[in-house]
Symmetry: C2
Subunit: 406 residues, 2 copies
Amino acid sequence: MSSLYLAAGLAGRTASLTSSAIRDLLALTARDDVISLAGGLPATDLIPIDRIAAAAEAVVRRPDAVQYCETSGHRTLRSVIAAREAHARGGVPVPVESVIVTHGSQQALTLLAQALIDPGAPVVVDEPAYTGALQVFSIAEARIESIPITDTGMDTDELERRLTAGLRPAVVHTVANFHNPRGVTMSEQRRRHLAALADRYGFWVIEDDPYGEICFDAMESGIEAPPLPIACHSDRVIRLSSASKILAPTLRVGWFVAPLGVCAAVELLKQGADLCGSSMTQLMAAEMLADTTWLDAHLTVLRREYGARATALTSALAAEFGARLTVSRPEGGMFAWASFRDGTDSSELLDSALDHGVAFVPGSAFASAAQYRHSLRLSFAGSTPSVLKEAVRRLGTAHSASARVL
Amino acid sequence: MSSLYLAAGLAGRTASLTSSAIRDLLALTARDDVISLAGGLPATDLIPIDRIAAAAEAVVRRPDAVQYCETSGHRTLRSVIAAREAHARGGVPVPVESVIVTHGSQQALTLLAQALIDPGAPVVVDEPAYTGALQVFSIAEARIESIPITDTGMDTDELERRLTAGLRPAVVHTVANFHNPRGVTMSEQRRRHLAALADRYGFWVIEDDPYGEICFDAMESGIEAPPLPIACHSDRVIRLSSASKILAPTLRVGWFVAPLGVCAAVELLKQGADLCGSSMTQLMAAEMLADTTWLDAHLTVLRREYGARATALTSALAAEFGARLTVSRPEGGMFAWASFRDGTDSSELLDSALDHGVAFVPGSAFASAAQYRHSLRLSFAGSTPSVLKEAVRRLGTAHSASARVL
């Protein structure tokens, strides 16, 4: 933000805010001549536009679809989500009252931060972390502590050492399934361990799960579905998800499932924040999520296509860079994580990459303590396999050009 | 909020929040046997459902209608709003960049409070005040100061006396057109005075204008349109409005127009709060607001119908209560304000009223300093004239029953 924009009369805390590096990058990469692997957007060509249009047509003339709705969300949608959540938890019943619908799961994060975090309180995040969470906790004036992610998720042994040494977080935030940006999934053992630590030390776990449903085809690759949610192992877990990645971002339908005390506090904050969500888009989401025959077929297509795109990207990276680049092997979600072993600085590479018509997010965007100077996040979701191959070819050219300059 | 719900581990500031009395009342009055004059909802029977369905049909298959949109709002909608705002300001150009679209104007209030108000800073509100604003400023931990409303709007002479005595507010919030709950409109002289005070003392004015377009028919009643916006007289004015009252609440489309420094700060806060709004409902709103032939005809119907309902309510109140009740004479908007002159306590009357099948909001809900024990807000918007007459008949019975008990 240029100083030109820092008008007099802004609140003190506002003046220190900075824009998410990714959001700024998205503006730069909206050019037609750039293939962007930078965004966190689902594939536009896989958004079920006809089904969405049918859902709009089905609900829009209902009087309860055009008025204000309940702050906690339209009852119909909350019931559908509660039933799906019970299924995801292996059949444990989930009361409708424990589901709160929010304006995307980003709003859930913001309101939970307001409800649970006093200024200065410690909050534990993944290292590397989802940038949207870093931004929310920074606005909440939390003291951010990070715990490294390994191939089996957040290192709960390290967390336990820090707790033993005196760390008392208000909240631990983690993306347990198909991590953004690392791509890994937390093991069942670590889920149980994290839940036990939450019970013992009395912190809240925010289990942020936007990608859990996008699990690639087990038949082809020997991939197993993620373990049961962390929420199955403790009452101190608040589980977040969203319709943005499996239906469409435009619905702005996210939700969380939490103990009633947390739901009541967030409902009060949401009254002040925006009164309520859109009854129309909530009823549209309910219509589609309840149409399980259609939804199952749609998810099958998403999983197969995203899996094919992930394979196309990682194969092309292996062919282009060989041993100079280590690349994660995504089993779901939207992202691959890669790290140069030849000393390449990913932030410096980005300038050259944009010149050659390809964009990614440098690892530094996800850093709270470590720097990830040699790493980058690549989204395979939004491009077809042939476009991904071309993107990697451009990245290779940019890397060669950048290396020559060095 | 019962203590049962106050789970351990909530942030300190959360534990002291209380629900809006109106929101709680709305839950009580959702019963079929109660005629509710309590809500702030626009008339469901006047929401243009067919036009909304056509707008959905027109936009929903556009790729940019289903993805994430820009944090500041879809460019198409921002352009339409900028053009309408320029017209409202008597032809002064309004740059697109000075328009930010929010999730209803309640979100605009919340984000502006975050951007402009440090905890403990003084904020001036109308007395009586819009309860949603009181809630937002309370969450922002502002020190709330109130200035009485008279028949020509906020008493700016009293404000000037307080400023001279040392009051230094960060923000002055006022509803200048068809005030909620008082129904009055600020005179041009007071608009100019408030703008001059903002320039002299360096505070921001939030000119909250959800009802300005609902101005009753001048032909029938000699009513004049409201004066030009306060924003015409100073650059320190942030003007808020919304599509909720003229199109439909379900769109969740609100907006504000402000200097670029304020827009930039709020855009950063909105990134953290919810990333962006719904591109679909924003494009639907743009489609309808740009269809001026249809919109003008629709507004004509709204103004005529709301005007007829206002007259039906105030006439019935005069017939039922005579000199025992003074009633405002609404010239626009959705509310009448009434005050008992016979000592009736409106909070006590509410219990009896609910027993007799009619609801209103007691004056105390709008109080920050004064108490308004004898006053009540009645919404005429949501009921037809015959239902309003029945509501007043029930109110009369409740008043008699309540008086007998006393």
